[in-house]
Symmetry: D2
Subunit: 345 residues, 4 copies
């Protein structure tokens, strides 16, 4: 179905590996239908293994006696890779196009808290230049004793806010059971950082007709993120956007370490659009704008920024949301930087 992708592994033997062991390694490799290339050094033998990746990946090469290390030299993902699709993927969500020359700003509150709150904020977002509305109905919270979201009622309010403003809406899915109901109300699914390797969920959204924004897990490498996206594409859903939202490091001043290095790396590795969430990334309201501007300068295709009209009274993450007028000011500054790097908002 998909083109064959060559993979290679480099096996290094232990210094005391016997001739019998080396022969056994080579035999195994050949038995599995792979190609082996042997180079002998004074202390060790280096064996290159080449073959179709689906075969090579399955095989426990390091378990063969006499093997010291096994090093992959090619990438484990294919559908998400630029080698598979040379041009950038454009993802159209209700007329808003991600991945093209225009930078898209998504905004809204952390949680949908009530009709007045979400509609008022949606209008503020639209007025300021935001193009898509975010809002959580099912909330992943670290503590079981905090606000867990309005559930289906929250989804209905999001749909009302879309009618009131024309903005398409994105909301987080946390459980495979909720897919059907979310599909009725939302325009785009969000898979959160804590579920980035919830493979049951990835497969389920891979079968959805809605596009998916996949957020990077707190300890996920760029490669892990791409492998999780590969799960969704491999089920047939190619409308996937990747979102950098901060990784966990030893630094404690900021909530997370927003890893902007991921932007140029992802733009080179994959054809999928790359969005940045500076709000969760740095987690400190006054520093959100600096990181948003930096993300655009580094080449991001969009931003997701939290806005609340009354952060002091917010039921979640009030500490990091921008006020509507701060957001309006930010969009202006984002526009200036986008133009400086040859894009628009």
């Amino acid at each position: 179905m998909f083109p064959l992708f060559l993979t290679a592994m480099i096996i290094v033997t232990k210094p005391n590996a016997t001739e019998d062991q080396i022969e056994h390694i080579v035999d195994r490799i050949k038995e599995w239908g792979l190609h082996a290339e042997v180079s002998r050094g004074a202390l060790r033998v280096v064996i290159g293994v080449v073959g179709p990746e689906d075969t090579i990946r399955e095989k426990p090469l390091a378990a063969i006696p006499g093997v010291e290390s096994v090093t992959p030299v090619l990438k484990p993902y294919k559908l998400v890779a630029h080698e598979f699709r040379q041009t950038a993927s454009l993802i159209d969500i209700g007329g808003v196009v991600f991945g093209g020359p225009q930078v898209v700003v998504i905004s809204g509150p952390c949680s949908v808290e009530g009709r007045e709150q979400i509609i008022s904020i949606a209008k503020d977002v639209k007025k300021a230049g935001g193009r898509m509305l975010r809002g959580g109905a099912f909330k992943p919270r670290t503590s079981p004793y905090t606000f867990q979201g309005l559930g289906v009622d929250g989804l209905k309010l999001l749909a009302e806010a879309r009618e009131a403003t024309g903005l398409p809406v994105i909301t987080e899915i946390m459980d495979t059971k909720d897919l059907e109901v979310i599909e009725q109300y939302a325009d785009c699914l969000q898979v959160g950082a804590r579920n980035m390797q919830n493979f049951a969920l990835l497969k389920e959204v891979g079968r959805s007709k809605l596009p998916v924004m996949l957020k990077r897990g707190m300890s996920a490498t760029i490669k892990d993120l791409l492998m999780s996206a590969e799960y969704i594409l491999s089920e047939g859903n190619f409308n996937v956007m990747l979102c950098e939202r901060g990784i966990r490091t030893f630094e404690t001043y900021t909530r997370n370490t927003l890893d902007l290095n991921a932007i140029p790396v992802l733009k080179r590795e994959t054809h999928l659009p790359v969005i940045v969430d500076p709000t969760h990334g740095i987690g400190i309201r006054e520093h959100v704008p600096a990181m948003a501007l930096a993300a655009i300068a580094a080449g991001a295709d969009g931003l997701m920024v939290e806005v609340h009209n009354s952060p002091e009274l917010a039921k979640s993450d009030g500490d990091q949301a921008l006020l509507p007028d701060e957001f309006e000011d930010l969009v202006k500054r984002v526009r200036a930087v986008a133009e400086a790097v040859g894009r628009s908002v």
Copy 2:
């Protein structure tokens, strides 16, 4: 004076906070029914906030103008804490007791691959002194192109292996949809590291009649692990065991960094049993025994160790599984160390 589970937060104001702002902060705190204690320094004001934790946790203190930082000084978890239950929780699974003076060794293959494989390994585990059988039926794999487990057929084979040996069985749950079928066949649920903050799943297993082993996420702090356990207990299921299985650090020589520091810390913080998985923790077969012995010396209540009778042919994680005779030797050495620290196997 304060209700049980008092929480406190320390607010520090910005150097340029106005008197009006400070008054507003104190007013907000009082409005929320909390107690405020103000200390004035040369440049900043320090305000202690004390009150019932469910209230205090909800409030976005850092969003109030003039606030520079908010620092919690008491713990956010309660049911899992030693303050809630002074004595160690004993968890009896098919006659095997976790959390008592005896150290329990769980073992088995990464995945159930077939009848002969699982029954043969189960017998090896039992003979060597293992007390519970592990085996994956639903497999969380980083790549969508690798072996994903036998599913319900795997569960049935686990139940057969239990009948053949008398060992209770533990298997991983990855999706809320699978709970019912797993409950039919297994004796203990495992929530994997990648799902440690899959809150929908935590709530679901919190309503199960089966005990749960919760594995620490790769970037989860000890506090995060306890908060996730709190989710399960808060739904009514108190039969929870915690499992340290390695965290993600900058070190690349080992697969993960098995964090044995978590053992004494968890034993002090919580009444729940603490299990250690050295196989995934260090991820290198020849170093698994050293880490297993160290875990017991540090005070772990049990071990989970992967065994395979033919690692070269294993469908997953063959690189790190012990051979049956290596496992038998390990159990002997574990016994010696357990006795040196006043326990038994």
Copy 3:
């Protein structure tokens, strides 16, 4: 000499702390001339400790029996803090001013390798718009078997390059013994990431007449960086620039994780100029420009970028240096982004 800075610590007692222990804690605090504020909860007692920071920092509060935790609530640094100096420090090095409205680009090769190399590159740097020349004479290399720099001969060549171009020069100091000779030839000292907590060296450069660029250590928090700068200022040298150059995380795709979050945080915490080194930060030549532009958008006062006229033949770090024409192109793009955020180059 310096104004008194209030520090506060919050002590939380163990749940089983006795009245005698609590009394002893309070007595100790008073004996040390500090102020104690006691709040009693159901399970624990919270004691606020306030006093002059030099006193409070010395005292092993956590060693007093009955104490569970000690949490500092104010900052441990003073001379580097914005509270000490409200306005940005301007540092003039041979007529080039750091910390003002103009963004400064420093550039040059990793190592000085010979007269022709350094003079040719210096001319390229100047022509493209670089304002200061970098070049290593004493090289910190991970392996003892690689090129260790030209030493004093390298310093002399740097001075020649300055004469040829008018660019002031910066070079790394690795040993207190070398200060005198480096002072003869260079205009600015660099303390490298691996020596950020070499306190003997920090004190020595704190007594130098030359300005110092202090690079952030690979595992140094922002607070650690500020404390190391505090060492230099406390010896009397206030001409210090801070340089973010990437931290060590679990990510392996990039050489380091350039932490741009540090820029807005440092600009808020300290009056010292903040420089960013995207070359070592991301460590991949083709991605250096994206990170350089992002750094400027985030508010950096300057950049340090490696350039080499023949990277294939470079004796160190050839893999990440830009070619002169790539550098010239970068400076143009930096200018556009600087202007978009209200600055110039």
Copy 4:
């Protein structure tokens, strides 16, 4: 076939690399006297490069146009490697032998604070079964405003304590300038974690007649630690011990994350003795014993544990030092675990 210490690198070309580029890569490799092995895949070419390590390490392979990645497959260190010396190195310091069947416990206060303090503690250490005395005279402190050690007076007091007890003494060197004076008084040099990559200092202690204990840096990989040890051995000093003392991770409950995984890995990679410092490693007094026992079970050759007779009054690190009777109890428990793993104390 190849000279001792063969190194290999695997080059993978970019998907769009031209035939000319591939030819140029191979030409360069041959020009440098190295061997190139070319394998062609559908999208990329894989080139194995083999040759003498000193040559191969110098060359900027990744800087050649058309190269996508360069992966080393053999180790960069040699003198420290087990391939260089098959048997364990025994290091005799004043009659105390490190690296043999007997586990050695080093102990003493963080800092030498006065004659009575150091002599009294030294006697306690000896009585409890400690074999070597530690104590800092030059102290690396994060803040310039805290106690910096007694300097040469501290060294003299250490020497007095040695005379009083017969215990050899170890103390930290922070500056190349201090080597001569420390050599007069101490029996073993300690290079601290913050100076693990202070290469000027490593070279200097490599020329000393005293043995060296090299502590692992907070963000140093195991490979980095071995490379730093290689610096010392390459200058002629083969009496080097490695000390694991905790790495920096995202976990904040413990001061550092003591990485016991490093013990079996180091014992396999190198012939040098491996010591563990649980005091700084976990940084919480009550948990030091658990980590000390675990270190011995994992195969450590020795321990370094801080003891103070009056932690509340200690001038540094009082929070984590054991009391003399706690230390005495610990040595007994260490003995039991050492015997369980076939060693003695």
